[in-house]
């Protein structure tokens, strides 16, 4: 069986297209590369959607935490604390079992017990909390001079926020936010190890990598393949975020532009 056939059979296996049975023995390198790569579709799916949807909630949460309304501020602070203070792994488990028990109450919750929706919601809330904290920090450090200048130009309310506060906040938060995005993509590998079942063995990259490692009892092939894919993914994320960073900083004089850090801090 040539490698092209393997790609045709397993290239989209993780979303249920192609050969139904996974290879059982005599694994070729090609099979491992193709299947793990096919699993990466799920990582990208979870990461991208959670990041995009989480972005809006994060802005709301950051504004909430900075709000002068006590209840709103408390609520946002608690939201951030709960999701940043507990392990994502436990959050996945908790959410899965919660959806499972809600399922017996109403069939509406049926899709929530599947990874594509349930895990996405957890990731969405989780990344919103982490980015919310980042945005909050950036919001606090928007230079007062910028806001005073905005006042002087007659900006007020929504326009002031849209044109002045928000872009500055994003600009300041962007390096840390890039880091968060990288970690979010890494966190997507936890999904299929935390209760959410991989229906018909449609899993993510790590799911297939550990499948091969279990079957061959040789971790030295599948995990480095996975590592290669993820390093590539990380580089792409850094590249895309770097482009946005350049756009956010385009009005600044060349010398004072915040250089995009290509050595993001390791921790979220």
């Amino acid at each position: 069986m040539s490698c092209w056939e393997t790609i045709a059979d397993y290239g989209l296996r993780s979303i249920g297209i192609g050969e139904r049975l996974l290879p059982r023995d005599n694994f070729t390198l090609c099979q491992q590369v193709v299947l793990i790569g096919s699993g990466l579709i799920w990582n990208i799916y979870f990461g991208t959607l959670a990041l995009i949807s989480g972005f809006f909630l994060a802005t709301a949460v950051a504004l909430g935490k900075a709000s002068r309304l006590k209840p709103v501020q408390k609520l946002s602070a608690w939201f951030i604390f709960v999701f940043r203070g507990s392990p994502l792994f436990i959050q996945f488990f908790f959410a899965y079992f919660l959806f499972l028990s809600l399922k017996s109450v109403s069939p509406i919750f049926d899709p929530f017990t599947a990874a594509w929706l349930g895990a996405l919601i957890v990731l969405f809330l989780n990344t919103a909390a982490y980015s919310g904290e980042i945005f909050y920090g950036a919001l606090q450090s928007v230079p007062r001079g910028d806001l005073e200048a905005a006042d002087a130009y007659g900006f007020a309310g929504w326009t002031k926020f849209r044109r002045i506060t928000w872009p500055t906040m994003l600009r300041l938060a962007w390096p840390a936010y890039t880091n968060e995005a990288i970690f979010l993509f890494h966190a997507t590998t936890l999904v299929y190890f935390s209760g959410f079942p991989a229906w018909q063995q449609r899993g993510d990259a790590l799911y297939y990598a550990s499948y091969f490692a279990d079957k061959t009892f040789n971790p030295f092939v599948p995990y480095p393949i996975l590592a290669g894919y993820f390093i590539l993914l990380t580089l792409i994320v850094i590249g895309l975020f770097g482009l946005v960073n350049r756009n956010l900083n385009r009005h600044l004089p060349q010398a004072s532009r915040a250089r995009m850090t290509f050595r993001p801090t390791l921790l979220r």
Binding site: D25, F81, V82, G85, S86, P87, L88, F89, I90, Q91, F93, F94, F97, L98, L100, S101, F185, H186, A187, T189, L190, F193, L206, A209, S210, A213, K215, T216, F217, N218, P219, F220, Y223, L226, A227, F230, I231, T234, L235, R263, P264, T265, L266, L267, R268
Partner: protein
Amino acid sequence: MASFCSDPSTLSGLSWLLCYLTTGKHVALYWSVGTVLLLLAITAPAALAFGFGGATAARSRFLPLQWLGRGYIAVVRGVPDIAFFLFFVIALDQFFEWARHKVKCPDWDQPIRQGSDFVVCPEAKLPLGNAAQWVHETYGFMLAVLTFAIVFGAFAANVLYGAMRAVPHPQLETAEAYGMSPRQTFWRILVPQMWVYALPGLSNLWMVLIKATPLLFLLGIEDIVYWARELGGAKTARFTDYPHGDWRVWYFLALLIFYLAFTRVSEIVLDRIMGRLTHGQATLAGDAQRKAV
């Protein structure tokens, strides 16, 4: 276990709950909290040691060592940590067995990898086939600790590497001017001064380490996640004196609260330590402290 628990079917309400929460398996759950704390207690210093080694290697002037250190730091940045956990547990186990095999059975002529099997001679097995159950468990736990130490060592190496570069350079130049050798400069000037710069990163690392402890479950240790799944699952009267429905959601809620409390307490303690350390330092935070008094 209280004496009135002898016949659970007659109990109800609070006393039922009390008896239920003190069954043997629940006691095992409470002990597994100890496992988590033990893991943290061993891993934190071990990871710090690995990190120190990694950071020192990364700024070494001997090129291969420098590449080794930088590679160690760089690789964890791009790859999900859970992949490392899954990888190292098998890889370390096989490495140990392979090394023992080479030493103990030099005249073994079959290949070690036979298809999908990893075959070493019986004397090289770890732990030995006839070892007691607790030896197996301890070995598993030690592998997990080593894995955690390697992965978090890389994180710590990154933090310490940054901290070493944050020490003001004139300090090192002054040391040189006083005639200290590079070794003396490193140990007497650089290392004592770097901790203040490293502390924010290290406390962040501690938080991440706490939040990584549930991953022990994936390494095959009977930790709190294991017991929460085990105990929370629906039980019928046939197998237990305390039948109940699917309570896993409650068990995981308890775990969630446990971790939140743990993080909160750590946060408070670390804030205090940081306050102590910044006292009298020529930094923004130190100035703020002085003004507050």
